[in-house]
Assembly symmetry: D3
Homo-oligomer: 248 residues x 6
């Protein structure tokens, strides 16, 4: 059940029996010479919808822009500041908690979002706890990264070994190829690819990672891999979601 | 050219010849008993992509959640506070201005966004002007509401007369029916529909407009109307966009 | 009844029978070579006091500085950022709502304030709704621009035709001449006056509108016109105020 | 020279020879059973204009609403939060510093503003220092309280002894009587008046000071006293202003 | 009883009989060529612990970094902006008020903190009053500067006369020598020492006070003086604390 | 070299040869029936000073209060909101970066700080990059948790197995016993200890973890263990710090 394709009476009916919602969150950021700028949002949204179908849960609108400040020296990247993203999460959850939602399951496509999301959850528990909502003290949030699912991680290792890298990875590129086969990009990729540098500011990042990749070889990606990774992610996150909403 | 389906070198190439970007902005809010919660984002996104195709302009990710605080007494609505939305716009534009974009054309699907967007533009000109960007003083933003296009307005009046109303209108419902024909909803609509009350807070809004509609009869909507409205909006906003980016 | 010339027991007594307050809001900004920097505040304050006399309503202190960022490249202009003005409005209304006021009628002298005021109203309904005030959900705000009163607009057109322009207009200058006849300024005005450019940032504004006027010829203003405009505005806004406080 | 009655070319001319501006700041707050709610703004504005005349300095618009949170349990009081007032001051000074003003002389009518003003000055030096203004590191602010002028203080002691008190004092009431002789209020004042309690929150304040006075007997005030106090304040602050703008 | 060396059940027991807490606040800022950067925090912490012992009150963790923006042109200085410090104080007090503390006694070592602390108290009374805490309207804060204790001031005058100055004073240096005798620093001090300039921004401050001292001769300090000053401060603030917690 | 026991000329000299600083950050929060409320700050500070001695690096003042909102239902806990902590970190680093520091090594004692610290680093790179500091794009931050050092983790497992738990652990308690042997607390600990629940809001946390421990048995702690853990942490973090400051 996709929130944007539902009506408010349908949501009202849903809330009589459920309290959970799936919120996909991605990023709009460079993904190397061949990766799509929307990669993280595309993956999160596709998987979230798969999980939504499997669980009959409501899937909210995709948060397309996340915390990608370190990629902003590459054109096309859009980022919120962490402090802005915290407010955004707080506003989403306040709206939804007022309606009766209490279990917020974020399916996340971008490692750079994790820290800020966790900070936002803490801030939001506190803020919503200060309002006088009937369930104000029962709000629960979880961030579920599709790319750290153990089944996904295992397959990525099998398929790509250490050419998986950590940004603009073949596994995320494969998943976007599966979702948007008409948007597969090619470009000459240097054999040498920077890796191993910690992430600091945007200028420093581009200096260290001049083409945007971090140790990855996205040339290895295929749409078929993407399908396999998608299926594994949906299965594993479906289990996770069901456990999450069932837990006390 | 959709930003999320592009790579950063493609954006870099684009920026050598262009400085404009189209940013769709909608809302996630109740649209009466039969209107989709995502109506405003669906309409803005579809039309923005149409304009993008017609103009070869980059179309950024859709801002799915806008300023809809007055709808938050209906479940399923998600809203940013105006102060949050101002920060979001500022962050988007700062990221994009650093890359070289200077012309920001917001295709908007929700009346409730307009005031905050305008406030955000003023704040952003000031903030970006305070950075040391080469084009910091040349940033220009425009909000283009598809539903106030004169051609759209004229057709809506012809088709629906004063049953168009001002929220959950047959014209916006028609447009979503054209885009998502598989998601056409039906529900009994009372003949009597509230209208004419000014908009204040969320509780007051629901008290005055108990089923969420404002003077509208969305039963009149058809996908065919939607196609007509879509075509008119794309044509008119294409002209507007081209004038906007050409102007000094 | 002017708030600043009243005592708290007088306000306490007033609140037993009334819930409305008039808040004049202007701006401190350039108004061309001959217009007063305080024009917008002067007009709003004078008219607000006229409406206050006619309605026996309390008139609060004038907000002299509004949202005029686009005029800040001209010396003498003072502006709040929209985000600051939102907080200011929120603080005013929180103080007054705690005391029992629920109807806030802003008599506004500056077009540039409108968007931010509307954003501020939305933010404030939400914030005050989150407090535990007895009337927290009944707060209502209205922005009433004296210069868009239909009677005012009609007279301005009659008197000045398209030399009215849209900033540093003869009608607002006339009104200040009526209020401050001892401060009528003269300076040579070029026949040519810029007009028609959209408003973006401050540097861009001064580049496009080098003497600060937007298509106007303030030389046409007279104190007598000012009196006429004043009278019309007071009459029309008196009616508006009375309807506003009476409405549910 | 009153800023609101000047034009921008007049300010531009002024700035070629001067760098100082006088900014009156008051408060909108209860002043006991007979004191005007606008007392602090009225006094600050009147004296600031006197000093402006004596020094030919520009006098900016009066900040009518200050930091009066502790008075908000009395109806009619309007207060900014300290964090809001800091932003307001910052916005005023940023606008004016961009135009070339560097010496900001606040004539203050309210003790409760002092701490926040000083905090705001520190914050503003830092913020403006971070912009690239030519004079960014030369900004100087001073808060000048008319009621702590030694000449004023001495006369108040002579006239009222310890019936001066510390809020709704006869000296400030006298000054408003001099400025607005038509608005002299009377009401029975209890002989007993609370005094000596420290100031905490608004509810606590009203509990401790039930009629709003702090140890004062405003019945002693006369317009003639007000004239004397006004003259002394203008003289002393004129000297202070001239020293301030002359100093390195 | 030091909070950081206590357990939560010990605090729970304490709160059954007490409602007060002592919070030391200092600064991390230059103190001239020989004064320790931690001087203000060291003094506040030592004295706070002395008062804590004498009164059996809980002493919270030292706020080591305060409002020292004007010292930031000297390396080693760390400062919060006033707006940040207001949030910090608000967060501390919200946490502690939720647990039942209502009397907050700040023992302060830095003049530059005073204004911001007072602003923070006002803001916090308002914010906590808006929560639904049982004692939300009873929160009371006091700032107690050890260096303005009358007994301390008197001794400093006797010992140092006008060589006490107003920053990097011999009395504060003496107190740090008493607390950290192994960290007594020496350096050639010029006989001439700047004094008398008002404090504005950081660059201006260093220009006026090139070695960081303000009219002081810290060479006069001895650990023995420090012990005397410490004893006086502890005695006087012990009395003050006991009065504060006893008062209504 | 402890910053608070240094003078500004000493820091100036240090900065000619070094660019790194160690910043200890802890928390002020419940640590079960026998753990000290200051545990996390005590551990971070002690280890940071050890690393400072081993590396001759400057050690800044300890951030005693961190992000512990989930512990605030236990008395004695003090927490910053994540959004406040982000501002605090930003202010610290802005002050220090202006002086020339570029390498910021946070020795952290509290898992709950990690997410917010990482968010703060991202925000700060962006903010400082926007200033015009010579090294603005070279700022680098690292968070080093003493309790996740591999040597520490290994020893804790050997000593305590799965009785280590994840909050109020015997290893952190042991370390505080080593640092403050005079403050070893005892209290009856139930054999049964809650574990395995995810962390959400404060009320939920106390409901799930009624005595504050998370799966730990702090009775196993001894000061001797504390010494061993301390030595390992200092050694490992000394290596980490030296690598960090040496890296490009």
């Amino acid at each position: 059940m996709l929130l944007h394709l539902s009506t408010w009476p349908e949501v009202e009916a849903y809330l009589k029996e459920h309290s959970g919602i799936i919120l996909p969150i991605g990023s709009t950021e460079q993904h190397g010479p061949t990766g799509l700028i929307g990669t993280d949002a595309i993956c999160a949204e596709a998987i979230a919808r798969g999980v939504g179908e499997a669980t009959q849960a409501v899937v909210g609108p995709t948060i397309n822009v996340g915390m990608a400040l370190h990629h902003t020296a590459f054109p096309g990247t859009i980022s919120l500041r962490p402090s802005t993203l915290i407010l955004v999460i707080q506003d989403y959850l306040t709206s939804l908690a007022q309606a009766g939602f209490t279990k917020f399951f974020f399916i996340n496509g971008h490692g750079g979002n994790i820290a800020t999301l966790k900070a936002a959850f803490s801030e939001t528990y506190h803020t919503i706890g200060g309002l006088n909502l009937p369930n104000g003290d029962s709000i629960q949030c979880q961030v579920a990264n599709w790319f750290t699912c153990s089944s996904v991680y295992k397959l990525a290792k099998e398929l790509y070994g250490n050419q998986e890298g950590s940004h603009a990875t073949p596994s995320e590129v494969a998943l976007t190829q599966y979702v948007y086969p008409e948007s597969i990009k090619t470009a000459p990729l240097s054999k040498q690819v920077a890796s191993g540098y910690p992430i600091y500011g945007a200028v420093d990042f581009r200096r260290k990672y001049p083409d945007g990749r971090m140790g990855s070889n996205p040339d290895l990606a295929t749409p078929e891999h993407g399908k396999q990774l998608y299926d594994l992610a949906v299965q594993e996150l479906t289990r996770n979601y069901l456990e999450f909403v069932k837990a006390e």
